[in-house]
Symmetry: C2
């Protein structure tokens, strides 16, 4: 991780806060001959990146270290196996209609598709909505025809971090990634067994739990 | 926030690490007459909750404070206005079909619906998929008929925290919350102007950015 590059003014602000903490933004602005409005972007950056701490009705304090680094370490230590949820899986020959019904019954955003117990595809609400609007007979066409197929699927493993999962979701622009375990298929080829799912919901819930002390129970 | 309740064994482990840091899990297990496997859940809890720090190939260190608290403070200080994205808005008389087309063109999961510039409803991919499967003529029916209507909509304001947004998304089981600003409507009633959106994608991206030092740019 690269350290944040601070501007000279930002360094000045840190020095002021170090010396006079707690100090209000009015006082900082006064000392630097600036308006509070002009100062605000720098204060936001310094607070967000953890150099300063903002306490309502008190002022700014120097926090002495980058909270960012600590959070980053923490998130990178969280394992996928600790945050994954159950996957919803259907076989390739399931009709699109039945797959959509399963999607609703299980109330999930993405369905994983297997053949012979191994991951072969993924279909999301977005894929299904597109199909439902078209001329495809969703009662006849199997989900295997319309799914996104391996190897074009981003996945994670139990040992990957929550960060890895979030990164794949963001970079591949998907709603979830399957959690898989590499296995040897009967034909001697390598395949992936689906053991779980990490979705944007899991990440949002994790973010929520981080503030509610629920992670002790992991 | 309640402090985490530690078991006696967990307290023993902390004492051991304090005294002998850095100490490997083998050594901790040895001292406590336990197997490493039996020890693992406690080490996970202590690492996750921030009491201990695990350094690969070095061992466990005592971190002296709960990282959880720092993360929690940090997240609660992040403002909605700093993480929100642009909302996609259509009027109540837009047909369901056109609303779905907009959903695809803008590549979003939820559309907000206004009447006279004020938030009146929300419709998601899930809502649209349900309608598309039914007998409704989506080319004729306006989105106003099928949307979730105020006051049954969870929303946030610029001043709320990223945590508030994540909490509403999780507790109301929605994909996103509109960011609104309270205004006085012409008829003298209170209404809400839509100024943004916080979705599970925003939260997942924030989680991702937290590890990539991108928050300095907020």
């Amino acid at each position: 991780m690269n350290p944040i590059e601070l501007t000279n003014r930002q360094k000045q602000i840190i020095e002021l806060v170090k010396k006079h903490e707690p100090i209000t933004s009015e006082h900082i602005a006064e000392q630097l001959n600036m308006t509070r409005a002009a100062l605000r972007p720098d204060l936001t950056i310094l607070t967000m990146s953890g150099f300063l701490e903002a306490r309502p009705k008190v002022g700014y304090l120097y926090s002495g270290q980058s909270v960012n680094n600590m959070i980053s370490d923490f998130i990178k230590n969280l394992k996928v196996e600790n945050i994954k949820s159950s996957p919803v899986i259907v076989s390739e020959d399931t009709t699109v209609y039945d797959a959509i019904v399963t999607l609703f019954l299980e109330d999930v955003g993405t369905i994983y598709i297997h053949s012979g117990g191994l991951l072969t595809g993924v279909a999301s609400r977005k894929d299904f909505l597109k199909i439902a609007l078209g001329k495809t007979d969703i009662h006849k066409v199997p989900v295997g025809i319309i799914m996104t197929r391996m190897p074009n699927i981003a996945y994670v493993k139990d040992d990957d971090s929550a960060y890895d999962a979030a990164a794949k979701i963001i970079l591949h622009e998907v709603d979830s990634v399957p959690v898989v375990e590499q296995v040897c298929a009967e034909n001697g080829k390598t395949g992936y067994k689906i053991t779980g799912k990490v979705s944007k919901t899991n990440i949002t819930r994790l973010f929520f739990d981080l503030c509610n002390d629920k992670l002790g129970g992991l």
